[in-house]
């Protein structure tokens, strides 16, 4: 693959500065366009299918001959999509905020201080990334039940209060932070707390933005933990709403696709509006 794509570029020309005319690299663009289509096709299919009437669902036609909104009105009637979306936003925002905060604090401790067992503690935190939620799901469920938090958004947030990924990535990027700047701040009499918020955090914007996106998306799409906790649809998140169209007795594809489209739409719009910033933030984040 690498050679194929690189081939049309084997010419002596300025590497970074000058833009490529499309015609000069038809092959590379061809490959990229195919790849883009593969990435977009299922999304297109989801939206188109949600607009098909029930008996035309399996036609396989690229463009539906008749378009209907009946799947949407059905889905809206069947599940409380509005309150589910609100719940999902609350959970996603809270989880993102908490993970960023706890990650920043822990990373700061690891980078700035040396303390007993620091290596071990760091390793133990990193390893939690490998522990699939399913492994600890049942005991955690019992704990949540005993705390009286079943059917509450709190229970969806609490186990995700911290994440190994945030701790690791923040530790990593803080370590590359110029030591001189920190020393200077310290000379000025800034305490540890102030250095973190006034010197380090403003310089971690790229990383914070990238992590925000990653955490937000994965929380939005989280499925198994909410499924275990959900008791009433109105107190659940949107993924549970989607799941309600897939049952042991069959799947209602039309409404499922309509609900999925509605579930993806907020995040898709958010992304389309911010995509440049999203991509840029990854560039700036120094994840590497």
């Amino acid at each position: 693959m690498t050679t194929n794509i690189a081939m049309p570029m084997t010419r002596v020309a300025p590497v970074r500065s000058r833009p490529h005319p499309v015609l000069r690299a038809p092959f590379g663009h061809g490959v990229m366009i195919i790849l883009s289509l593969i990435c977009l096709l299922p999304v297109y299919w989801m939206i188109v299918s949600s607009l098909r009437p029930a008996n035309a669902l399996l036609d396989g036609a690229f463009w539906p001959s008749t378009i209907t909104l009946e799947n949407y009105s059905y889905a809206l009637r069947a599940i409380p999509i509005g309150s589910m979306l609100v719940n999902t936003v609350i959970v996603s925002v809270a989880v993102t905020a908490f993970q960023l905060l706890t990650g920043l604090l822990a990373a700061y401790a690891f980078v700035r201080y040396r303390f007993a067992f620091d290596k071990l503690i760091y390793a133990l935190m990193a390893v939690t990334w490998l522990t699939p939620l399913q492994v600890v799901m049942i005991p955690n469920y019992l704990l949540v039940a005993r705390l009286g938090m079943l059917d509450s958004l709190t229970a969806l947030i609490l186990p995700h209060f911290a994440s190994a990924l945030a701790v690791m990535l923040f530790t990593q990027s803080m370590r590359t932070f110029p030591k001189e700047v920190l020393e200077a701040a310290r000379m000025d009499g800034a305490g540890g707390w102030r250095i973190l918020w006034e010197v380090i955090v403003p310089n971690l914007q790229g990383m914070i933005a990238s992590l925000t996106i990653l955490i937000f998306i994965s929380t939005w799409n989280e499925y198994f933990w909410p499924l275990l906790l959900s008791r009433t649809p109105a107190n659940s998140v949107i993924q549970i709403g989607i799941q309600m169209f897939m049952t042991a007795e069959g799947t209602e594809w039309g409404p499922l696709m309509a609900a999925s489209t509605m579930a993806s739409l907020p995040i898709l719009i958010f992304y389309v509006l911010l995509q440049r910033q999203v991509v840029q933030s990854f560039m700036k984040s120094g994840i590497r």
């Binding site: 590497v15 604090l105 522990t131 600890v136 049942i138 911290a162």
Partner: protein, 309 residues
Amino acid sequence: MTAAFSSPSQSARRMRHSRRSIAPWLYIAPAALTFLVWIYWPLFDALWLSFHQWNMLPRAPVKFVGWSNYANIFALPKFWQALRNTGIYVIGLLPLAVIVPLAVAIYTNDLSGRFRNVYRAIIFVPMIIAPVVAASVWRWVLDPDYGVLNGLLKSAGIAPIQFLTDPDIAIWAIVFITGWKLIGFSTLILSAANANINPALVEAARMDGASRWEIIRDIRLPLLSSTILFLVMITTLLGAQWSFSYIVVLTQGGPLGSTTNIFHILWDFGFSSMSVGWSSAAAIILFLGFGVLAFSLMRLADRYSFHDN
């Protein structure tokens, strides 16, 4: 990025040494307590329970059964098949999770701003779609009777392919879908790393008459090696987990166990039913297995990664 896994002490930029202070403990407390309560406590619980039989009901007796929970799991005929498949998933995922994104990252880096942003934005889209939804849609696209893809094949005169029901093909279909979801993430990470390569290095090589390919081979790839290694590592460690949703929705491990992996089979027999013995033993097997794997990979990474700083 591989450094993210290794311990913090390697950093020489520590500002306060060995000052006895409560401050670091306060800083790590929120994260540490979360992990302790929600991950380590249940894990220790599972370790103890994996040697017992109990139905979780408070009034029921807890019976010591020795290793029999583990023996039951290892006796599953599909267990070893699942282990083998786990390897296939990891190896199969690497091209999509690492090689394609690498090519895309390097290629798009040299495009004009508009094209670069459009391509990278599009490639990120699969990440946004919920796994359950993605799985449902792909099943539709791949269906032998009414799927779009087989429709295209049929019009080209090729017999339809049983993507999800042929035991020899199904696992590759799941690998593809898992990879499809991952390309965006890897591409962004590699693009970020690639964009951070000092342009002066590339410029200098170009002045020396190096071709594009030589620049990629001698400068970019070595400088990207730690990021590549990081991606290889997380693919190895998390690949089985990432494919889980797709296995559940698309094949339930079938046909004939050809798509099950270690994670799915332990879920199937352990966590999905609340049999405490089965699921606790499964939890311990998974944790120890991947723990050991992670440790060895970390050692490997430390030895072979190329640091540019």
